[in-house]
Symmetry: C2
Subunit: 517 residues, 2 copies
Amino acid sequence: MTEERLIRLVRPEISVPELKDNTADTDRVIKALKKHLGIDLLHVDLSLIRELPYKLRDNNYKIYACIFQANNISELIDVYPEQARDIYGIAVDLGSSTIVMRLIRLADLKNIDEITFRNPQTEIGADILTRIHYASKPEGLKQLQDMLINEMNNHIQELCNKHNISLDKIVGISVAGNTSMTHLFLGLTPHWICREPYIPVINKFELPLKASDIGLKVNQRAILIVFPNVGSYFGGDLIAGILASGMARQREEICMLVDVGTNAEVVLGNGDWLIACAGAAGPALEGGVADIGMMAGPGVIDRVRIDPETLKIEYHTIDNLPPVGICGSGLIDLVAQMFIAGLIDIRGKFVPERCGNRLVEKDGIMYFIVVPAQESGTGEDLTLSQPDIDSLIRSKAAMYTILTTIIKTVNLSFNDIGKFYIAGTFGSYIDPKSAITIGMIPDLPLDTYVALGNTSIKGASLVFKSKDYYGEMLRIRDMITYIELNVNQEFMQLFSAAKFIPHTDRSLFPSVRQYYE
Amino acid sequence: MTEERLIRLVRPEISVPELKDNTADTDRVIKALKKHLGIDLLHVDLSLIRELPYKLRDNNYKIYACIFQANNISELIDVYPEQARDIYGIAVDLGSSTIVMRLIRLADLKNIDEITFRNPQTEIGADILTRIHYASKPEGLKQLQDMLINEMNNHIQELCNKHNISLDKIVGISVAGNTSMTHLFLGLTPHWICREPYIPVINKFELPLKASDIGLKVNQRAILIVFPNVGSYFGGDLIAGILASGMARQREEICMLVDVGTNAEVVLGNGDWLIACAGAAGPALEGGVADIGMMAGPGVIDRVRIDPETLKIEYHTIDNLPPVGICGSGLIDLVAQMFIAGLIDIRGKFVPERCGNRLVEKDGIMYFIVVPAQESGTGEDLTLSQPDIDSLIRSKAAMYTILTTIIKTVNLSFNDIGKFYIAGTFGSYIDPKSAITIGMIPDLPLDTYVALGNTSIKGASLVFKSKDYYGEMLRIRDMITYIELNVNQEFMQLFSAAKFIPHTDRSLFPSVRQYYE
């Protein structure tokens, strides 16, 4: 891969006008740049043409030109004097709940700063379907877009003030979000995304947009790169994930990428082929349904160990505070450890003789006391109910079934997978050993599993690195074959077989065998 | 030349979405159009992407696509339903005094209507230099641009109302004006145009602009074609003239094109080469300085004949009204006829014995009574002064010297010219015979001379005809070698020799010899 940046500064040789060479200012710059870059066509926006005569004369025609080049398009974004030629990009993880913005200095790709903030659209609706409904009316769509853009503008201004960077030095914004968020961000109606046959307004932007097209207050000509979608249920955030994982640059191994969440999005393949699917895995994997489940935060249990002899529960909380709840990774740990300790059986049902007085009944539902009131940060018992476990088992079974289905589609087996990438902040906390133990992911050598963290922000940042990464982003979109998960009889049979810990077919999980034989 | 329009409607086959083909709306349209047009890249503006889902569904995906294609750029301007698929362009002659707008139906290039109105910027300054000075401050430039754009918008709205055409059917605007007017139109500072070394902000727009970029209220994506300039003193109006003349498509003959006015702009060449120059010829040729000179209008003398025997002056006025003045072409006729009748000599001086009592003196200046008070529409004598004639002779000498200089530059003689095109509304009225008689233009066979009328509006209209004409416009700009007129000793000698009727070298004007031998 070339290290030539997607957006970069070049220093063309521009001659100073004289009577013998009275080429117009813009023509002069274009001519010099075409020669310098070896190109035939260079876009220059009228707004820059207006400013050029002043900018050139202020610097005696010695300027650095900020150029965007990709996909056979070349554009002059701005010109800068020698003493002020630092340019920046902003990478954005456009999450439906949380937005992350990273300020990047383009010359050396240094991450200057990063901020995380709540998506202001959550005021209208925490879940995306509420927002899609709200956006059905044009004024609703406009309002949702405005909320988002205003909040982004505030944070961009804040970042720039903090680091003493003028807004016109922000020359590129790269955004990765799911299909619905991308639509709301660009002011495109998401109305048909959630209605059969599930048609987005646009999936792929062949040509970059301008940040000013949607009111982002940065350089007026700043390039806006929006990660393409594959379809209504497979968005730019996943393309960013594939880009960040590097699997589309992989020529040897076959890789699998999973984004674990309410929706499980799965990609399989390498630099030669990519197939993807998405399916509902249920919010249980994120800890979203259990009574004590919550997002990772201070006092939240993220790791659990149970001594199989003493049955003593050891846990770790974020910031080592008294426990107030448990996050998804903690929940997976907890259930895996309970299974190993014999507190639940292969169906996930409590084993009363092992649980002893930790098991209590309330309104006909059985609860397991994970942390007694005297130890907890809430003053009450932190409990896990039988329905919580059932829900987690259905979710993990759905996940495993989706993985099985996609691998079968291409007549491969899990053993053919060289790297198994887990995307998403949540995914970073999952202990693969526990996830294998409950039969959520295949029983592969632990070093096969690679947690990637927030791949949306990583992918969004990566396009600034070089034209080739930008090209790869477009290529990934074109390469992917998206397969619809047919929830048919075969799927349901696979799903039923997976609703056990780890699985009805124990040969699939040899490393777990030790716990029940 | 292909007759494929620069902006045209095509009917791509767009499949209706279904579960098995849930391609996004925009991607679906782009894919169909790429296939239909055999292209790799198609621009679609975000504003259209926003509207596409509705426009497609309203017409069950049966739409006509309005496409701009030229210079390796393809753009989707809009989509229309079958029953409303008439599209229009507006050609504009952006004169510094007068603006002409022509509404053209693009399918058959029918001229639907044409209006002429005063350039509203004349309120700020009748002459362009006053406006350039006024535009030196950004707010002055903004004001001049706004005046112009607002007036144009009013007239566009008027035209559309009159013909019951919705504004979004105006998909292209083509504008030919001189370099300064082009700058004021686009909001580009003309400050350096009139200051050594005379640098325009831009000469050549490689890529068309959008009409909405400068606030023109037509289709938001309407293409704005601005005729390129060659330099500060050779503008897009002349490029339009060359395009309209067809000389750049001429492979056999060598052609000359002259735009006669205060500035004489001259182009020589054919499809293989073009050279151009411009020089001050003086306003006398347009009738602009004589006491009785005026723009063509009702009651203005446009043709004159003098009986060499009786010396009776016969004249024709526009609309056959009593005479109130004389326009440029009438003035050239008058002076030529006075020379033939012996009323002035070869130096242009009155011959008192021939003029008789038509010659009067006032404040030491001699006047010739062209129309006595009792015949005139003003109630006063219409007179021509000796200084008026002197001024005309200097102007015609300048013109002839410029023509001589350019023809000498390429080592040709006037006899090598196959066609001599006279551009401009004023040029249409000139009687070549009279212009030859006074020695303003070379003594070539009369059928060599072709008056083209308003070539700015003709050229501006012509680009809508096909991509090839658009390409020719760009090619002309690239082909032209502009030569600076060196007002050196040789030029001054040629000029002095031309300050006689028809010339000191009588052998240059054999057809005029009969009048003085």
